[in-house]
Assembly symmetry: C2
Amino acid sequence: MVARRRLKGDYCPSARSLDAIGDWWSLLIVRDAFDDIRRFSDFQKSLGIAKNILTDRLRTLVDRGILETVPVGEAKARVEYQLTPMGRDLFPVMVALRQFGERHLFEPGEEHSLLVEKETGLPVRLDIRTQDGRPIDAAETVLIKVPED
Amino acid sequence: MVARRRLKGDYCPSARSLDAIGDWWSLLIVRDAFDDIRRFSDFQKSLGIAKNILTDRLRTLVDRGILETVPVGEAKARVEYQLTPMGRDLFPVMVALRQFGERHLFEPGEEHSLLVEKETGLPVRLDIRTQDGRPIDAAETVLIKVPED
DNA sequence: CATTTTGGTTTCATAATGCAACCAAAATTC
DNA sequence: GAATTTTGGTTGCATTATGAAACCAAAATG
């Protein structure tokens, strides 16, 4: 496992989130999980990750409450992995990554997958707003740190 | 450098974003850049990253257009690193990570840094909406893949 | 102008990862 | 229902990435 030093700035929520996810593979696994991948072998094929590493990362994500195992069929020996409610709260992270990719990493006209509202088919996007609902720009925000950084 | 195999599903914008960022350290560097860290030694202190690795990652992020070097002082030999406009578009990813952390990784009442609107001091949040501005839930979305996955 | 700091590079030890072989249990095929 | 294939791993070893420390030149500081 990536025995990553806990990030300095433990008071910082995004730092903690990154710690909770753990490492790069784990982030990719979570991404696949949002893509409805559930089985060991499907994660493995999708990511090209070594099986021993995948075993480890799935176990860690389950330990951290981001994934959970659900028994498949009647036998309890075989399981699938799915996002917990907490794991599903990483959805905005995935949408944000998607939006960045759409904006910067595709040629105009190049085809890509698209996230839409089920009912209407309208594309989904994500905005930064104040708590009272006004959209604002990154430049209008400021980070208030807690004392003794 | 992490010679990561290009992710399968190259048509997927979030996969491309993750490829563009590159690896875990790079993501942490970007996070620090949003925290107004600009100098080599400050990244190094903040992250506890080995200097040779930091050199490599900064160079890669610059190559990919996420960071840029700006000469500091009158000498052009010394540079600082700052987010490009493209790099700044990763802001929602950071806000999403922050929001997840605030929700799940702090005890009630536990102190953390806070992102607010400069002018009003109101907390910043991020919502998933349809293109026409209605807030929606993750469960109401569906991913439309391009053919031949 | 002497000293310290910055922004690196190089080398080497160590840790993480990838690969292939192997395996038992479950699922599938005949 | 026996044989075969697939699944979901584990183990051991080779390879690769990372971390630590030493070192260095240029810039900044005293």
